[in-house]
């Protein structure tokens, strides 16, 4: 497989996952502000959402205010925000277009259809109803696309590159969400009710509420939530699950063998797995957890870079 194609597939996986996850975060947030009374909702809440879905620095470079309309526009459709859902979906469609001869026809059609309908959406007024409808459309498009991938793609190289992108993106996103909530928890030592509310939100942001509540009815212990989203081996959105699956995918690329060129890559994955394994979530305080999560995000970046280098996804150094 061409390196350029592999790179497009990897980013196709990432961009779809990013659009879906970010849509979910904004969607949950917009519902929460309906429930929250005036004054309860602080600028900080919006900052957290932006920090999860994009970059707060970038936001304040462009705007000097923070309110629902501006943030929604910035996160959903702003062409200037690299991580806006619209941009993620545009990139995903371009990734798909560049690999049309490789991916299932249905996958391309799902993304193309979104693109065609998006034009109509842009012309509609930005009412809450329309926004929620749009966010839902992003999520269902991503889920439909994943359904096409799972049901019709051969489990060979293109599939695997797509999945590596997806798992890495998901793992990183979960850790960003947790980071924001640990920070919040550290700063605000408020009542149990508000702590309950945070961790509920964290679970909703990561689409983990339903699965969590089955294991831990009906408590919302921070330690349990963290343990669940970091270490639960059976939950497909936990950090551990994502990393395990990155490893499995790369194993598939390598036919189960470790060659000299892929040895470093496997070492890195195994190190990350160990770090997750050894982390004693139960007994860590918020600072330690934040350190752990920051460290994990750095590891993900390193892993992503090593993966790209191993398979020449980035322009290789010229060989003389």
């Amino acid at each position: 497989m061409l390196s350029r194609v592999a790179d497009s597939l990897y980013w196709l996986g990432r961009n779809m996952e990013r659009a879906e996850n970010n849509s979910r975060v904004l969607s949950v947030q917009l519902i929460h502000i309906l429930e929250a009374s005036e004054g309860q909702l602080l600028d900080r809440n919006w900052e957290e959402v932006i920090e999860i879905c994009a970059s707060i620095q970038d936001y304040y470079d462009r705007y000097d205010r923070i309110d629902k309309e501006t943030v929604t526009h910035y996160l959903a459709t702003s062409p200037l925000n690299m991580n806006s859902f619209m941009n993620c979906m545009v990139y995903a469609r371009e990734n798909a277009k560049a690999t049309r001869d490789i991916i299932p026809e249905g996958l391309w059609e799902v993304l193309n259809e979104f693109h065609l309908e998006q034009k109509d959406w842009q012309e509609q007024p930005a009412t809450s109803q329309h926004i929620q409808h749009y966010l839902k459309k992003v999520m269902t498009t991503s889920m439909t696309a994943q359904g096409v991938v799972e049901s019709s793609m051969s489990r060979d190289l293109p599939y695997t590159f797509l999945k590596v992108g997806k798992w890495l993106e998901r793992g990183e996103k979960v850790s960003r969400v947790l980071n924001v909530f640990c920070e919040k928890n550290r700063k605000e030592t408020e009542s149990r009710t508000s702590s309950y509310y945070y961790w509920l939100t964290a679970l909703q942001f990561t689409n983990g509420y339903d699965a969590y509540i089955k294991n831990h009815p009906p408590t919302m212990e921070p330690k349990h939530v963290l343990e669940f989203l970091i270490k639960e081996p059976a939950f497909p959105r936990s950090i551990r699950y994502c990393i395990d699956h990155v490893k499995e995918a790369i194993h598939r690329i390598e036919g189960g063998k470790v060659s000299h060129y892929s040895a470093d890559l496997f070492d890195m994955i195994e190190r990350i797995q160990e770090e997750i394994e050894e982390a004693d979530i139960e007994n860590m305080n918020m600072e330690q957890l934040m350190y752990f999560l920051d460290h994990f995000q750095n590891r993900c970046m390193t892993l992503s870079r090593m993966f790209s280098e191993t398979y020449y996804l980035v322009e290789p150094v010229s060989v003389k």
Partner: protein, 485 residues
């Protein structure tokens, strides 16, 4: 539906002047009569949507950037009875043979120039003549792997060649997609007709492609072929995707290839992989910045060296443009006589060179009756259609022609044949042409049918998709004209 259809003074593909269908359209006519107006409209919309959803689009560029557009599809097919098609097929093979011989000749011994048939200046001063490939023996001595020849019919119904496309003819994917959509949306129409299938055509294409084995290829292995595209922003990108996918070859961009020690490789996730055959859809000028335009970002440095060493095949050949421009077109009938000692089966459209002062004078006086074309342009650009032009347009062309007469040719305005088109709820006559695709390797093979293009703007003569043209399915009846199998 077709009760008030007026064929006018033109040859109509489907209808007789009196309002009855031609024999080979009789079944089709009756089937269409059975559709209600609503059904026709719904089917029409479904068909257009199909192209949009699948993203079968081409990109139109203007000053504000590119827009993706679908080619409008018209469901009234062009039906060609077998005997007529066989003649076209023979004519196309003949023409391609002659053109291929011509290309080999002008880059080798130049017999046709020595014989005084084609002027030397027309060859060697042609912008598309590349000294770089002079004397090069290409695999199978074949310069044209895939050609698209545009045919029209005059008011007598006589087929004539309007244009040869020997560089990068596009549109083959539309032949297949038009048929696909037709079968999906109008299955009823197929029950009564027995038509040539398009299946196996792409495996034929693939076989022919990989028969272009370069001199130094490893003969123990199946050669590796790739399709080289300028990328997803190219107007014909869908065509590239479709062909690569259907032939099962990699779709590569210039940046995916690298030349080392005069051997071409593609960059894969497992390192470099040798490439033997390149079906390129990039123009000559952009192929190799070392040999042609140095500013080309689409090409591959060193490609020409690898080609000249016999380490890679490039199809269509480099320098084919010398044979398919509008000036050389005039000489194709002579090429057929010279190389094959045969008379052309499908004639040209009469064409005047404007470098001839007498002709020039005549043309300048009759601009309102003639079609004037820039010999170097294509896609319907820089041309004047006399009878439909305004005084200002004619003045502009008069100036352009006087400035560089050799840059232009003139042709009588042919009463291009028409066929019914169904758009916006009614049938009306539109001008059509037919792009026939010819694959060539050991021997030529003609794709049955081809891409029928239609000028959907009423009265327009321009069928190019970039200028509002649409497409139609083309049926070759496998049996006689009144088949009902």
């Amino acid at each position: 539906m077709l009760k008030h259809y007026d064929t006018g003074l033109f040859y109509d593909e489907m209808m007789e002047t009196g309002g009855t269908p031609k024999r080979h359209y009789r079944w089709f006519y009756e089937l269409v009569e059975q559709f209600s107006g609503t059904e026709l409209r719904e089917k029409h919309d479904t068909a257009q949507l199909n192209f949009l959803r699948k993203g079968i689009t081409f990109t139109v560029y203007n000053h504000t950037g590119g827009t993706e557009r679908t080619m409008p599809f018209d469901f009234v097919p062009i039906i060609i009875p077998k005997p007529e098609w066989l003649k076209i097929e023979e004519g196309m093979k003949q023409r391609l043979n002659a053109l291929n011989r011509f290309l080999d000749d002008v880059y080798h011994d130049q017999d046709i120039i020595k014989a005084g048939i084609v002027p030397r200046s027309l060859v060697e001063q042609n912008a598309y003549y590349y000294e770089q490939v002079k004397g090069l023996d290409v695999p199978l001595r074949n310069h044209v792997f895939l050609a698209g020849v545009d045919l029209i019919r005059d008011d007598e119904g006589q087929y004539r060649v309007l244009e040869d496309n020997l560089r990068n003819p596009s549109g083959m994917s539309y032949v297949f997609q038009n048929r696909y959509v037709m079968r999906q949306v109008y299955p009823e129409l197929f029950f009564q007709h027995s038509i040539e299938t398009l299946e196996h055509q792409l495996s034929e294409l693939q076989q022919i492609l990989i028969s272009h084995v370069p001199l130094n290829a490893d003969s123990t292995k199946t050669p590796t072929a790739v399709l080289l595209t300028p990328g997803m922003y190219n107007s014909a990108y869908y065509d590239h995707v479709f062909l690569a996918q259907q032939m099962g070859i990699e779709l590569v961009e210039g940046r995916d290839l690298i030349v080392k020690d005069d051997v071409v490789y593609m960059k894969t996730i497992r390192g470099l992989k040798r490439v033997d055959i390149i079906y390129r859809r990039i123009d000559d000028d952009f192929l190799d910045p070392e040999a042609f335009r140095p500013d080309s970002a689409l090409g591959v440095p060193g490609l020409l060296r690898a080609y000249k060493e016999g380490n890679v095949s490039i199809v269509n050949g480099i320098g084919n443009g010398v044979a398919d421009d509008k000036a050389m077109y005039v000489y194709v009938p002579d090429m057929i006589r010279f190389y094959l000692d045969e008379e052309p089966i499908i004639p040209n459209v009469e064409t005047y060179f404007l470098s001839d002062p007498e002709r020039l004078e005549y043309v300048l006086e009759h601009l309102d009756e003639l079609v004037v074309k820039n010999v170097g342009a294509s896609g319907g650009y820089d041309m004047l259609i006399g009878p439909q032009s305004t005084e200002e347009e004619r003045d502009l062309f008069r100036q352009k022609i006087i400035e560089t007469p050799s840059q232009y040719i003139a042709q009588p305005t042919i009463k291009l044949s028409r066929a019914p088109a169904y758009q916006e709820g009614r049938f009306y006559p539109c001008h059509v042409d037919l792009r026939v695709f010819i694959m060539n390797g050991e021997e030529p093979h003609v794709l049955p049918g081809g891409l029928s293009r239609v000028a959907l703007k009423e009265g327009s003569l321009v069928v190019n998709s970039s200028q509002g043209g649409g497409g139609k399915d083309t049926w070759i009846l496998t049996e006689g004209g009144d088949s009902n199998a």
